[in-house]
Each structure stands twice: as structure tokens, then as C-alpha cells.
């Protein structure tokens, strides 16, 4: 399998071209706002419900708590990473030529700022500092001329989701998730503990190149939510839930799948069919120009028609989907209240996961991308309730 988004490897041509385009788009926005410099902060505590401007703009997954990319309007960008010993890897992994390693961000940032040759009283913008610790969030502006402005909105405009690299990484992440799930189906058996199964699924995806993974895997005869894997042993008749979210180069993609250990009964099929119908209704509503709220309403309408309206809201579910990092999260949640307008390039998981009184909580969700003429499900795998053969002998 081809390997985009290496955390350690050599930069490649496509990544560099896209990376420079990202920085170019940012500079165009800086020009519009009259900024001479932009400081893009990166938090090492990256997870799928938060963006990382530094990683997005540099192509480097930092190892330490703090990193920052300095983007001057007219000079080459400079990446500062922590810890110091990680600089050589960071230099190879991204598309920024000047990479500085440091054990503390602020002093190194100060030195690099002094070397940029910026004019006195230059205008600076700050991106992502809200995700830094208080010490860094206070310390970075103190290195800059008075009046440095919050440029998160600027980044939001410049970092429009859906460039070639982001979609490639998401497609690869979905492919990895699909294979991880296939491995899970292949090895799951009664007597195995949830956490052992989760370990297998995770290992399969890490072996295929996932650099991180958010994963909930649980099984029960009648569950009320999916949760992290525990000690419970799988049993015949269990409904196995898998919410799998591997990351490739920081771009998380999610699939939500349900399998039955043994033969599903009519209630399993009927409730899962309702989920598939709801998903497809949401997908049909996910057109450019439509709102996220309309998409969520289309899903909920199916459930209400089927008699499950009471379960389309908390505590039976949280949301009908959400975007994931590295870019700003658009939409952060798929709810009927959302007025966010769908645009080509947006990608998020759409999941009509919810509780059914007949069979408990079921998962059905796919990563989708909004394209010019509608939404595309990234995974080629048809939606369906899976079955795990159980030997009753």
C-alpha cells in the first residue's frame, strides 16, 4: 500500500507542492489583512476534535508539547519543534526547510523572530494559541510587537478543507479503518475479551501506517452506548460495536460498524435497516449549499417515521456526525440546530448511531466528503450489518 503522510520519512513532491500551496493561501490572507508575520501554534496534544495549524502548514507531527511555525510575508518560514533532539526527523518529514529544535519553545521562538529581519513595529497574527497552555499563550505575544492580533478566523478562511493532500490522507485513513475492521471480524470469537479484540484491530491499523487512532470497541447483549474496551468476554448473540478512527498525517477518519456474533435475528435486521435508511437520507441531503441542520433533520425524520423519534436526542446519542482535525472542525457537530452551509471539500463522519429499544445501541457511520454534485462515501464497502460466525459445537 502506498504510504502518504509519513511521520518520519522523506518528504515527497506532491506533499511539498500542496504544503507550499497551503502556505501560499495563508500568505494571501495575510496580505489582505496587512500582516507581516503569522505565528501558527501546534499542540502536541493533538486529537481528533481539535485542529493543529502548525502541523497543517508544516507537514510535521510534533513529538513534544509545543511547536510553532513562523510564516513571514516575504521570507522563508521557520518551524520550531520540541524537544531539541527531534529536529532532524522534523526536517525530513515536512516541507519547511528551516527547522529548529528546542527543549523550550519560547526562547527559541524569540531567537528565530530576531533573525527574520522584520521591520520595526511589524504586524503579527496568532493562530491556534487558544490550544496552548496559559504560559505559552501569554509568552508568545510578549515576543511580538504590541497589537499582535488573533488570526484564527484568517486561518479558518485560508485553510479551506479539501485540498488534494487532505483528501488523499482521509482516503488512506478510511482504507486503513476498513482493513482494521476486517481484521477485527476475522479474529473476533466468543471468549475473547473486548480489550484483546481492540488490541488486534489497533495493531492491524498501526501496521498499515496509522499514526494514531481513536477507537471505541464494546460488545453486549443490549448496549446503551459504545464505550472503550473493557474486560468483558464476547458471547454468542452479542452485538459488537466498533467506532474506529485512524489518523494518517493527523487527518482522522472514522467508520462506525456493527456486527452480531452468531446469526442476527429479525429485530437486528430491522433496526439496522432503519439506520441505513437514515444514513442514506442524510447523504442525499448533504449537497453543497444545504445546511448541516437539514442533513441532520433528514436523518432524524427517518427515525421518527420508524417510531424512534424519542431516541434521536441526548442521552440516547450525542450528534449525527462531526468533522475531525487537522483543519478547523467544520462542522463540529451534525445537529438540527446547525446553520453551517455545506461546501465542496468538507469531510466528516456521518453517523446515525443511536439506541433502539429492541436491540440496544447500534453503530452505522461513514466518512463522507462533499463534492460539487453531492456527497461521496469514501469507503467502497456497502453498508450492512456484519455477522461473525460462532461455532456452537
Amino acid at each position: 500500500m502506498a504510504c502518504g503522510g509519513q511521520v518520519n520519512g522523506q518528504r515527497n513532491g506532491r506533499d511539498s507542492v500542496v504544503g507550499r500551496a497551503r502556505i501560499g493561501a495563508l500568505r494571501a490572507a495575510m496580505d489582505t489583512h496587512g500582516l507581516d508575520l503569522l505565528v501558527a501554534y501546534g499542540s502536541g496534544r493533538h486529537f481528533f476534535l481539535g485542529s493543529n495549524p502548525c502541523w497543517y502548514l508544516s507537514g510535521v507531527r510534533q513529538l513534544g508539547r509545543d511547536a510553532a511555525l513562523l510564516v513571514p510575508a516575504e521570507a522563508d518560514p521557520v518551524l520550531v519543534v520540541t524537544p531539541a533532539w527531534d529536529a532532524a526527523r522534523a526536517r525530513r518529514a515536512g516541507w519547511v526547510d528551516r527547522v529548529v529544535g528546542a527543549d523550550a519553545l519560547l526562547p527559541a521562538l524569540g531567537r528565530e523572530l530576531a533573525g527574520l529581519g522584520l521591520p520595526a513595529g511589524y504586524r503579527a497574527g496568532l493562530v491556534g494559541l487558544g490550544r496552548a497552555s496559559e504560559r505559552i499563550a501569554v509568552g508568545v505575544p510578549e515576543l511580538l510587537p504590541a497589537g499582535a492580533t488573533d488570526a484564527d478566523e484568517l486561518f479558518l478562511t485560508a485553510a479551506r478543507p479539501g485540498d488534494e493532500l487532505m483528501i488523499a490522507h482521509l482516503e488512506r485513513a478510511v482504507a486503513i479503518a476498513d482493513q482494521g475492521y476486517r481484521h477485527l471480524l476475522a479474529v473476533a470469537r466468543p471468549g475473547m475479551r473486548e480489550f484483546e479484540l481492540a488490541a488486534e484491530c489497533d495493531w492491524a491499523m498501526r501496521s498499515l501506517g496509522a499514526d494514531d487512532n481513536f477507537q471505541l470497541i464494546s460488545a453486549s447483549q443490549h448496549g446503551h452506548a459504545v464505550h472503550p474496551p473493557g474486560d468483558r468476554e464476547l458471547r454468542a448473540g452479542d452485538v459488537l460495536l466498533a467506532e474506529i478512527s485512524p489518523s494518517v498525517a493527523g487527518h482522522f477518519a472514522q467508520i462506525c460498524r456493527t456486527a452480531v456474533l452468531g446469526q442476527p435475528d429479525q429485530a437486528h435486521h430491522a433496526t439496522y435497516a432503519a439506520q441505513v435508511e437514515a444514513f442514506e437520507a442524510g447523504l442525499r441531503a448533504a449537497n453543497p449549499g444545504a445546511t448541516v441542520g437539514e442533513m441532520a433533520a433528514a436523518i432524524n425524520a427517518v427515525m421518527t417515521d420508524r417510531g424512534y423519534g424519542a431516541f434521536t436526542k441526548p442521552p440516547y446519542l450525542r450528534t449525527r456526525g462531526h468533522a475531525m482535525g487537522l483543519t478547523p472542525l467544520i462542522p463540529p457537530d451534525v445537529t438540527e440546530a446547525s446553520e453551517i452551509v455545506l461546501r465542496p471539500g468538507m469531510s466528516f463522519v456521518l453517523h446515525p448511531n443511536q439506541y433502539f429499544p429492541e436491540r440496544g445501541y447500534l453503530l452505522c457511520g461513514e466518512q463522507i466528503v462533499i463534492e460539487e454534485h453531492g456527497a461521496r462515501v469514501i469507503s467502497p464497502r456497502p453498508l450492512g450489518l456484519d455477522t461473525i460466525e460462532v461455532d456452537h459445537t
Binding site: 518520519n8 486529537f47 510534533q62 488490541a199 446503551h224 474496551p229
Partner: protein, 369 residues
């Protein structure tokens, strides 16, 4: 200084009542309340993060899956767990902690301010004195400022030192959990080394360690390996390499407690000599600085900087790196009963070399765990 922040918890997530029963937490709360009385505090607010949850988990037993967590310990009321999770997760969360008061968050994207204030109750008159611990280090700046503003009606002071004192010496049940983690880490590294010896590529062999540890019950696993570039790097499959030696650093979290191991398991050369020097210098009353000096004294000049860059270790427990820290100038005396994870990662004859040992201080000696 070994630091790997980018981690999501996804392994075995349980409250093991045999290993850490409810009475263990009652005792921790009792000791904390005694310390609070000495410090004239009416309540403690302990804020953690999935990457650094120790203070909060010390009282709750619950390790967050992602984002922040908080625990509020009052002078008399039952402590409360404030979680970033929502209502849907409450039944599962209730199975992970002895605490009955669990305050969920309205959104995964908000901070703990509202939940902490709900758990604390009104400030009172005169305003109650609240010790705040870990908030500045563990919260995003926006969430931190929101919390500080929300606590404006209370008299707030820092309580990091109070918590460091409570956690400095490991309790017997903590030692058991830590020991199990060590067993998992060492077995994982041994399996990985065996895979490498059998011809596996370096990254594939390293991932054998992750699989092994997770299958043995680790909730979190962090790997750094020598992938042929002369420095440790995070492990990601893909550009499969086969190095001429297998150097792996593996940290695992089991029941919230961290443990570390390295390959090779029986090191020789400069790293081993420097580690031995630290072990010889270790004992109650010695300082982290003295241990670091011992290691530096055993290493040639160029190798010292490499070793210091990776760090020499220090306390370990509910955090992978906790006080006391072994570093030049570290003046804090080591306490009897403290557990130290010491490691030396350096260059030796142009190749990366690693040695590690986890010990408990017993008087002026150390006992290997």
C-alpha cells in the same frame, strides 16, 4: 525529557476493584483532607488531561479517554468527578470510578469551568479557600481563563506542591499496579526484540511490542525506536527499514500507572555504565542533581549532551514523568519509598544505546522493581 504527547487512549479501560479497591481511594481522600486542613483549604480542584491525568486520577481512579478531566475534593462532601464526556457516557463512566458524583459536560468542546463550579457549590461567605492544581499546565489557555474567571468568587491558591507531597511515596497498591505495568512493558520489549531477531523489520518489530502490551491489558503504549537515523523516532509502519541493531523505548500505562522498558534488555557499554552510576548514587536524601552528576561522570563529553537531551528519568507513577526529576541542578531530595524510572539513552561508538531500570528507594539503597 522523553516526550510523546500525541496519544489517544484506546486500550483496556477498567476499574480493577481487586487491584485498587474503593477503600484505597477512601484512604487517599482522608490523607488529602488532612493536608488540606494543614494548608487551610476548604476544597481541592484537580485538573488533568489525557496526557497528564495523575492528580485527578489519584482520587477518582478514572483515566480520561480524551481531553480534560477534573476532580473536586471538598472538606466533607463526597468528591466529584467532572468529565468532558456527555450524558450518554455516564453509565460507562460510573463503572470506572468509585465516585458517585459525576458531572458531565454539555459538549466535548467546552472546558471544565461550569462543571467544577457545579461540583464546588456556592463560594460561601466568607469565600471558601480552594486549592487549584494542574489547571495551568493541563488546560488549553481558553479553558484555563474561563475556569479562573468562573472561580473568581472563591479564594484560589495553587496546590501543586500539596499534591506532589501526597504522590511522592508510592502506596502498596500503587506498587502492585506499577509492577504489573513493568511486567507488561518488559514482556512487550522482549517480544519485539525476538521478532527483530527473527528477521522482522524495525518498525514491524516495534509494533509487536505495542500489540503485546495492549493484549496484556495496557491502556496506552508509547514507542520510540532507532530507525536508522541515529535518533529515537516515533514508530509508524510504512517505510519499512531494517536497522543493524534494535533499540526501542517502550512506555505502557496499566490501570493508570506508567512503566517503561528498553531494548536491549541487558545493555552493555556506556549507557549501562552511566545507569549503574546513577543507581549507585541513588538513595533517600540524595538529589536528582547528584544522580545526574553521577551519570555525567560516567559518560564521555559528547555522549553527555545526547543523554541529557533524552533525559535521565525521574519519578514515575500516575505520570510517565513526575517529580523528582533527575537532571543537572535538581536539588529536591529523594524520599524514602519513592519510585524512580531511570534511563540513559546516548551514543556509544557512533550508535544509539539505551539502558533503563525502575527502582524503589529503600533507605540509602535501591530495590529493583
Amino acid at each position: 525529557v522523553i516526550t510523546m504527547e500525541s496519544v489517544l487512549k484506546r486500550g483496556r479501560t477498567v476499574w480493577d476493584r481487586d487491584a485498587l479497591p474503593e477503600d484505597e481511594y477512601h484512604e487517599r481522600v482522608r490523607l488529602a483532607r488532612a493536608a488540606m486542613r494543614d494548608a487551610e483549604l476548604d476544597a481541592l480542584v484537580l485538573v488533568g488531561h489525557v496526557a497528564n491525568y495523575g492528580d485527578a486520577t489519584y482520587f477518582s481512579g478514572s483515566v480520561p479517554t480524551m481531553n480534560w478531566v477534573a476532580v473536586v475534593v471538598g472538606a466533607e462532601d463526597e468528591p466529584a468527578l467532572v468529565t468532558a464526556s456527555g450524558q450518554r457516557e455516564l453509565p460507562f463512566l460510573a463503572s470506572q470510578t468509585w465516585l458517585r458524583r459525576i458531572v458531565p459536560s454539555r459538549s466535548l468542546l467546552t472546558g471544565p469551568a461550569a462543571g467544577v463550579c457545579e461540583a464546588l457549590g456556592p463560594p460561601g461567605s466568607p469565600a471558601r479557600r480552594v486549592g487549584l492544581c494542574g489547571a495551568a499546565a493541563n488546560l488549553d489557555a481558553d479553558a484555563y481563563r474561563e475556569l479562573v474567571a468562573a472561580l473568581a468568587g472563591y479564594r484560589v491558591c495553587e496546590a501543586d506542591a500539596l499534591m506532589a507531597g501526597l504522590r511522592a511515596v508510592k502506596r502498596p497498591r500503587e506498587l502492585v499496579a506499577l509492577g504489573r505495568g513493568l511486567t507488561i512493558a518488559r514482556a512487550a520489549v522482549a517480544e519485539a526484540a525476538e521478532a527483530f531477531a527473527s528477521g522482522a523489520g524495525t518498525e514491524s518489530a516495534a509494533l509487536v511490542a505495542e500489540r503485546s502490551a495492549r493484549r496484556a491489558g495496557a491502556r496506552d503504549v508509547r514507542l520510540l525506536a532507532d530507525l536508522g537515523d541515529g535518533a529515537l523516532a516515533p514508530v509508524q509502519a510504512g517505510a519499512e527499514v531494517r536497522t543493524d541493531q534494535f533499540v526501542l523505548y517502550c512506555a505502557v500505562e496499566y490501570l493508570g500507572y506508567w512503566a517503561e522498558a528498553v531494548s536491549p534488555g541487558a545493555p552493555t557499554g556506556a549507557a549501562a555504565v552511566a545507569l549503574e552510576a546513577m543507581l549507585d548514587a541513588a538513595g533517600a536524601g540524595a538529589t536528582g542533581g547528584e544522580l545526574a552528576a553521577a551519570a555525567m561522570g560516567a559518560l564521555p563529553g559528547g555522549e553527555r549532551d545526547v543523554a541529557l537531551g533524552y533525559g535521565l528519568g525521574g519519578g514515575i507513577g500516575l505520570s510517565l514523568a513526575e517529580a523528582p526529576h533527575v537532571c543537572p541542578g535538581g536539588g529536591e531530595p529523594l524520599r524514602d519509598g519513592a519510585v524512580l524510572a531511570l534511563h540513559v539513552i546516548t551514543e556509544d561508538a557512533g550508535r544509539l544505546a539505551a539502558a533503563a531500570q525502575t527502582v524503589q528507594l529503600r533507605g540509602d539503597r535501591v530495590m529493583a522493581l
